[in-house]
Amino acid sequence: MSGPIKKFNKRLLIGILVIIISTIYLITLSLDAASAIYMTPSELISSSTKPEERVRLGGMVQPGSILQQSDNKLEIEFTVEENDSRVLVEYIGATPDIFGDNAIVFVEGYYSNEIFSADTLLTRHPDTMEPLSQEIIDSDSNDSY
């Protein structure tokens, strides 16, 4: 694409190759370490996820399921549901604004003994500018914001 290569300094060429190769190496090295498998409650229950596998679980908070420990209010328990599948989630920490009954949440952590220990809790990220309630008055449009 860049026309005829007449003369190219060897050290420069090596430098460029080193940058490209190390970028690709860094990408492959970090991709697995920094990624999580995304699952819904039903998929998680029926899967054979190992306790050391990092999982991102997405679903809705079952109304009335949020329990706060009385001695340490940062420790909470709640159920993430999707249709009829439910997973009990433990989480310690401050919760985001939109967290509450029926909120759409994404938790990341590890699943064992039917309990999901989450270390991050995100509610549906504000990555769209449309209000969620668009669906209510906008039944003919099918953009699922």
Binding site: K7, I19, T23, S30, A34, G100, P126
Partner: protein, 658 residues
Amino acid sequence: MISFTDFGYIFLASSLVIAVYASIASLVSVRSKNAYLRTHALVSMYLIALLMVLAASVLVYSFINQDFGLRYVTMHSNTSMPLYYTIAAFYSGQEGSLLYWSTTLSILTAITLFIYRNANYKIIGYSTTILAVVFIFFVYVLVFHANPFERLPMDMPDGQGLNPLLRDPGMLVHPPLLLAGYMSWTLPFAFGIAGLLSNDIGIRWIQLIRKPTLVAWGLQTGGLVLGGWWAYHVLGWGGYWGWDPVENVAFLPWLTGTAFLHSIMVVERRKKLQLWSISLLIATFSLSIFGTFIVRSGILSSVHNFAESDVGHYFLAFFATSLAASISLVIIKSKSLTDVTTFESATARESGFLINNIIFVSIAFATFWGTIYPMISEALGNQRITVGAPFYEKVNGPLFLILLFLMGIGPLLNWSNTNRKILLQKLQIPISVFTICLLIGIGFSGDIVLSLGFSACSFVFTTIVYEYFTGAKIRTRTSSENYFHAVSSLLKVDRRKYGGYLVHLSVVILAIGIIGSSGLQTHKEINMPINSTTTIGEYTLEYTGSATIEKADHTILASQIVVSRDNRASTREMLPQTIYYDNFETQPTSRVAIIPFMKEDLYIFQSGVDANSATFAIFINPLVNLVWVGSSLMIVALMIIFWPASDKRKYETDSRSS
């Protein structure tokens, strides 16, 4: 019966028809050298800008007039919103932001074409066609698939109101600036393709493309910075950049665009990297379209949304077509353009720029890959994967560090070849400063990565100051100016060089802020009973209670925290808040409380409040001020470069530094 808002639609539809005419007329005028058609095409583009401004005004007027018979107005505003949010609601939805995009494009196009109307007729002619085609796509979507002037079957008594997350002063400027940044890359792209089509990628072409590129880069930079500022003040997780997909796609065109900004200097001085630079422009434009599409379609949060959004399909089709057409053109032209790709010395300035470009593109590639990997993985039938922030930090962190070092060395290199002895001599002081900082850093903190980052900043800072110093020294010798005067006249005489250094200096300040606030942050999450205290860093915080305040269309839940600092008698009060807007009760938004001390921010996010206690996330963000200072200076420095110099002086500068 035609209602007032129907005129908005009529303006849109007529601008579409005129744009089709302009695109053909301009193309024919280049081929046939028909000056009459050429004037037609240019006047059409001015007319389109006028029509688009009128269409946009109709929508703005409908918002101000609270016309709840218009679907878009009903969706995004209500009677109790203050006027500035009502106007901001204009670009808060899909239809409005597309209208905003095409209106700003038509205005920028008209201004640019007017300024350059007598420049090279081929380049301007082809550019007009390309700009008109891009415009046609956006207005086609507006007219046929996302009409902001669609009326409801009947008038509503009141509207829905603006999404709570957008009700923030930052939101008045961030989305329009970011969208304008995406949009404005269309101009350099059009000039780039036009240069290819007319086999003219030389000095004349560079003079045309330079300012539109700076405008696009400035808008994009501003949009990114304000996005970070908004996230920092509203989202409440203590940071300003989270490598979220939507942030990433906004960052991508900035990366390739910044690479282009550097590579055209090689085109200008050495006539190298011509096709490479055009390819960067194509990438930047495509990524801008991709970004607009991602922001508007929600494809990245789930692949399933995508199948349901029809506007998304058009974007994808446009993205693919324009990319395929541009790449084919580059391949066709690669033979006829005599691109001299000779890099004989590793320490020549052009080689420095080449490495700079390779790193920028590598960062862009890694960011792009991390962003789309979940989609690819799912499309291949594998498990759905999410890629987190640590991925980007691990891959991009080292690349940015190399880039930082390069920023210190690059400007010291000469075109075509650098005398190594002189180079080493120039680097003596910076390397000493770097080594001292590194040793002190490691000695004090033991943290090698952080110390390396800060010392890299000190290295670049020293080289820039050194460059200014030597430049000023020469001036004090040749003219009777004192040092202070000499520094300012350096800026006047060689604005591009020394203005560029100012941008670099701002980047160093920004880098110190980023390294400090991400590497030295401390935070704790705590539930505090009323009248209890907690300490973090040198601050003691006492929670004294919470209260609710009723407002016209929202309720505020605020907590009071009294902050005292070690060894200081005075106390400060902080009021982290949660706001519940009517119609959006399930979507409360936060107002984070921040005290910006000189060296760090104390940052409190209110997570929950009950009868006798409240939960907070408390952060100390060191040096975060420098993030805002550095990025503001960057824009100021850009304006200094942009400010028109007298032609005579420009010529002097060009001939001297080449």
